[in-house]
Subunit: 244 residues, 2 copies
Amino acid sequence: MSQQRANTRSLQDNPQSAIRNPQPEDFTRYDQKLEFILRTSARVFAEKGFHSTSMRDIARATKVSLAGLYYYCASKDELLFLIQDNCFGRVLERLEARLKETGDPVERFRVVVENHLSFFAANMAEMKVLSHEAESLAGEMYEKVSGKKQQYTRTVRRILSEVQQRRGAGARKVDLTVATYALFGMMNWIYNWYDPRGKLSVADLVETVTRLFLNGFAGGGDLAPVPPRPRADEPLSVWRAPRA
Amino acid sequence: MSQQRANTRSLQDNPQSAIRNPQPEDFTRYDQKLEFILRTSARVFAEKGFHSTSMRDIARATKVSLAGLYYYCASKDELLFLIQDNCFGRVLERLEARLKETGDPVERFRVVVENHLSFFAANMAEMKVLSHEAESLAGEMYEKVSGKKQQYTRTVRRILSEVQQRRGAGARKVDLTVATYALFGMMNWIYNWYDPRGKLSVADLVETVTRLFLNGFAGGGDLAPVPPRPRADEPLSVWRAPRA
């Protein structure tokens, strides 16, 4: 088991895995089967939620026996880990490769949006699982996924900072933290509404999100920013304040 | 039981509820207890997920007996329904009241952002439950919540359309559907990163999101929109194509 497992990227650096001269053709068959299990599990987790899904549900959906499943992963947690780790790993890898093609900040920003939206439009179930099950792992698995997520966030934030610097000193600056997460929000929310097989193509979606984020909804800056309008104190919790 | 229940807003129009001259002071005590149960349930659902939470978990968290809980709601589904229905009902009611104060499209847009962010910053657990458990209800309960959500979405979309019309015929128009959901994404994603007790005040968050959405990250339109760049066909699924 550990001999085969060592071939999956995410487990390559797992110290428990021992490589014993596996044959390339075994690798291929093993990888294909593991990917089929992960893809199917992502769909089941997206539909039922991770905690409500049992390994029996995964066995039913994949038509792989329970014993067969445990040949590919040690636990349900490991399935979730492999899905999350592969997704963040892949999206980050693709981004870094593409960023090498250009040094222009606006073009680099465009690469971020194109890479993120095209990747996740093709992996909507995985996107929902990344979003909804971000806190479902613990310990080392959680740390590893978090590390990749943070690295991805830092990369995107750095590119936004490059765009901002290009605008020069005279420009009024938007808070970088809010801008970074606003961008992630715009892009990640698509799993709630976007149908990749519908009329709006991914290319049009990329174009609109890029333009909206860079130049805004009102476009050429002809609408002056509205000053904040403080409101009277009002208890905003949907529920009333608890009694002491 | 039905006598008391008839007082909660969401159940007022429940045909199963019969009102038998309840006393005002009973109403108050009943409502307070129900709101405490709903607030606590929202926190538990946000932490554990709706499907993994049992009525016993709610009983433990609220320190209300199981029999006591069933006096306030018929089922766990009804708890979730009451949380979702109250949240969408309240945020929509507040928005409609505030929109009466102004006819200016940009000011009305600002009211949308201020209302949404201040409400949900004060109800982060509820926000997570609305987002993660959007599909956890079925039948009439699902329809009722969906109806309110759609009404809210239509109202926001109409205001964006007003802003767009004010810009005049010469302006290049952003797709209204993408713009509406991009705005919801920017605002709703905050439950993943924003700490209302941190350094960034809700007023600053509102100001930044308003400016970012209206005028964009790059501001005064000095960065020309980048034309779409089609990419070579590439399988984008994180997993390889399944074998036939």
